[in-house]
Symmetry: C2
Subunit: 552 residues, 2 copies
């Protein structure tokens, strides 16, 4: 089942509007239009053609980039209209031939990334004053409708042809994998029996019924469609708290230096030990004083340390996921001056309402969530010379375990900052400290009030680190932990981590990555989908699928 | 991977204490002791031996029965102590050789049932005034510890040997599948990094550290153990609101008449059409007046209609799950006088605080949850002569869709009762009406205030049924819906239903069946667990597992 016919070269997640092949970003005052116009021959692999605005990872990388750039480069944009530049087709969803030819791991990582992109749309809506309208001007199927579901409003043309649909179950024997089922019942609150019906009719639902069932917000005749979309965009734009005018900052190329065993950036390195299946992820704190006013931060732009470091970290995590499947354990380290990290935190906290500071903070938050959702074991090593302070201490909190050296001769501390108690919430809606101390909620407040440096013993007593071996035990204990981890079933670890990392409340977001994704991954393993006669395998061929009808 | 070497005969879920082979139920005033003493040769299949108090489905059927009987037959019991009657071993968890020899579907259904049993323990604690103590007097591994986690308190003997552990990941390459990971971090609020460590050490954790990490509530030396358990049981017993003395009622045999194509009970029938892969589940309302006072209900005992009907329904659902894997769709019908059903509802609501009425209500609730969690498509057909009223209307609400005949010549109504607005909550903590109308919360109140009969058009307008075809369309529309359903991938339907049925909030319970179970099912399909060289396959043999170390 894991026969990947699609070549999987090293994927880069960087792009920019001048290189887009599938999307056109047009900014017109407060309204940006993201026009989908997928090049059939522009897929990541020549083995499939991206017909009917269907997409592969490359298309979604551009979409993610566009949303990111709107946030940072175009503060004057208050509304984004997502529409199709093709006739009669909005988007046919993920390309089936791409899915069919992909390995299990590729399918899973593809869905994870597209889910993160759609959640980034909702994050921009909730936190950044940017509203999204899906202007569905043609057939909108599967992942196409899931993209629309991530928008604030869904407007559908009423042309007798255009419909929204989730045809995955009837046509492909899989689930809509990008949050569709969850958003239909949990976000749009479509009645579950209607959702059940909708989820089984390949042709979808159009017109008035789509509105009555809450699948879309409005339908308009073709003659009025553009005008009504524009009108609604203008109405929503007026509600934004973003700046009325630019300029934004430019997000330059990261300049990753990729070698056989490493990916290196200015503040982040990922060093890979393939024999041990272990990578070391190092984040370096600021090596000089950083700007402390919004104006100076705007001038610094993408060179401002937290934005630079977390853009690099985000890219490193994505490369790790897709390009290094055999690396099971990631050792997380930091290097630098904790005081400089805390100074940045202070600046960020003091100017939290400034548009750029706000964007940077939410970007750090999203990157840390990306780490939470990366199916590798993370062990943080806290050693002399490290700077696990404030925002960077979140890396240790996001790790599955942390080890802190307790060597009185080589002082080594961790520190908290206001960034640990609010702005960097996990998918479950809690901070990492709250999640850590679910059983002892008063502890968070106590710890933050102390706000001093914790040495290894204090950190252990406070529950801020998992283990604090002394200098005699350190090497062996850390080595054994890493070696032991590498020997376990990678699947059991993925499942275990996915359950332990998200204690506490569930949200729509955790539901998408827990319930929905886990079921989809199960289906992606089942012969009824990916076997020789499975529905996904048979799609588009002459043969009809043959099912083992036993229910599980 | 689906090679079942374990024979799977027709399983009956009925038993009684005089027939127990693995448990001893001893009642001593307010404290009952459930002693685990699994017969090695007492498994459902001769192909494995139930060593070290390991269990298979048969062992868990007895446990579920015992808990059920304590609730109904022993109202004077306020505390249940679960312990082992063997030396040095509390429970080794699910039998690995049983799991290894089981089909995928069997593994999944086994885990589902054991999860429901553990949730029934927590249900009794939360709603019935019965507290549970796990008195761990020996090694307690995997499912053994998960059973303990379902109890209110975990007391561990401190004998230098007895430990609690979740060795599934390191030893078997699977997850603890009975809620262990969820309960560790969500119920007991063990810190996630400590849980991560705990989940990877096969030998487990004992003594003081087990208390410090919140894995157990207390440890006592061997010499004091029994006495301390007894003392704590007495303390908890004093807090109960259950009656001080009996008598309870007897739960008699259901007397199911099983034939090739049907299972029939007094108020429930399950008729099976194997060619179409469809079953018809019919529940008949009371056919005479039912008692209306608590005393009369106690006298009626297990013949009181709601208890009788829902015990039969529960048994039918369990048989369907395990014995009829090829039945994908269940048509749900009712027959009888709606007024009689509503009269029962009125009685139950009026005497909700009486211990037996309380037990009956919670049992109905658990049975309906069992339906929510049954991976078959349920279509309710509401036709003349039916009695979808109050409690029985929950069957239509639990169904994936409902069809109501709209024939003015043959009147046919549905009715609500107070049973629809509180006592019968789903796993997500909401009533089925609240879940249905998530997008329009005011609707529930409006509907209940009306409290009159809804004919088909009124029910459709109110959103209480999915479709209301007239007499001309009825046959075709229903037939096409059922035939269409049977043609889809059973796995995609299982995944779709598991996502659509639980809109709204997630709870520990939904997390266990969503996040945890879905991941476990995924792992149960993975070659790293169940392949020729997988960890589950290799366990207990000479060969070590060989993993494909790619992370997913």
């Amino acid at each position: 089942m894991d026969t990947a016919t699609t070549p999987q070269p090293q994927i880069s997640f960087e792009t920019s509007p001048d290189r887009y092949r599938h999307w056109k970003l047009a900014v017109d005052g407060p309204v940006a239009t993201l026009g989908m116009d997928v090049r059939e021959d522009g897929g990541l692999s020549p083995e499939y053609r991206l017909k009917l605005n269907s997409y592969d990872l490359g298309v979604d990388i551009e979409l993610a980039d566009a949303i990111q750039r709107i946030r940072f480069e175009h503060p004057e944009v208050h509304v984004v209209v997502i529409t199709s530049l093709k006739e009669r087709i909005f988007c046919a969803g993920a390309n089936i031939f791409m899915l069919r030819g992909s390995s299990h791991a590729w399918k899973v990582n593809f869905c994870k990334y597209t889910n993160e992109t759609r959640l980034a749309i909702e994050d921009a809506s909730e936190h950044s004053g940017i509203k999204f309208i899906a202007a569905i001007n043609g057939i909108c199927a599967g992942g196409g409708y899931e993209l629309a579901l991530a928008c604030d409003e869904i407007l559908l043309v009423d042309d007798g042809n255009s419909a929204v649909s989730l045809p995955e179950t009837p046509l492909l024997g899989v689930l809509p994998g990008t949050g569709g089922l969850t958003r239909v019942v949990d976000k749009r609150k479509v009645r579950r029996d209607l959702a059940d019906f909708f989820g089984t009719i390949a042709e979808g639902i159009k017109g008035k019924r789509a509105v009555e069932w809450r699948l879309v917000d409005a339908v308009y005749p073709t003659s009025q469609f553009k005008e009504r979309v524009q009108k609604r965009a203008n109405e929503l734009a007026a509600l934004s708290d973003r700046p009325a005018t630019g300029p934004g900052i430019s997000l330059g190329a990261l300049g990753a230096r990729v070698s056989a065993d490493a990916v290196r950036y200015s503040a982040v390195s990922l060093d890979i030990d393939r024999d041990k299946r272990v990578a070391t992820l190092t984040v370096r704190g600021p090596d000089e004083d950083t700007p402390s006013t919004p104006d100076a931060i705007v001038v610094a732009g993408d060179r401002f340390w937290p934005l630079r470091a977390f853009r690099e970290l985000d890219d490193a995590l994505l490369r790790l996921r897709v390009n290094e499947p055999l690396i099971g354990t990631v050792v997380v380290k930091t290097e630098g001056d904790p005081a400089r990290v805390l100074a940045v935190d202070e600046t960020v906290a003091a100017h939290a309402s400034h548009w750029l500071v706000r964007e940077i903070t939410h970007f750090i938050k999203r990157t840390l969530k990306r780490m939470d959702l990366t199916s590798r074991s993370f062990f943080a090593l806290i050693e002399p010379g490290s700077c696990f302070a404030g925002t960077l201490f979140e890396l240790a909190l996001a790790a599955d375990r942390s080890y802190m050296l307790d060597d009185p001769d080589r002082p080594n501390t961790i520190r908290l900052s206001p960034m640990n108690t609010g702005p960097l919430r996990m998918s479950n809606g809690l901070t990492r400290l709250e999640t850590r101390f679910l059983g002892d909620p008063g502890r968070v407040e106590e710890l933050v009030e102390e706000r001093e440096a914790f040495d290894a013993q204090a950190a252990l007593d406070a529950g801020l680190v998992s283990f604090a071996p002394d200098e005699l035990d350190w090497d062996d204990e850390v080595r054994l932990a890493i070696e032991g981890r590498a020997a376990f079933s990678p699947d059991a670890l993925t499942g275990m981590e996915a359950n332990l990392r998200f204690a506490g409340p569930e949200t729509m977001e955790t539901k998408i990555f827990g319930r929905l994704t886990a079921w989809q991954n199960w289906i992606f393993q089942r012969p009824n989908a990916v076997g020789e006669k499975g529905a996904l395998t048979s799609y588009g061929s002459q043969s009809r699928p043959e099912f083992d009808y036993r229910r599980t």
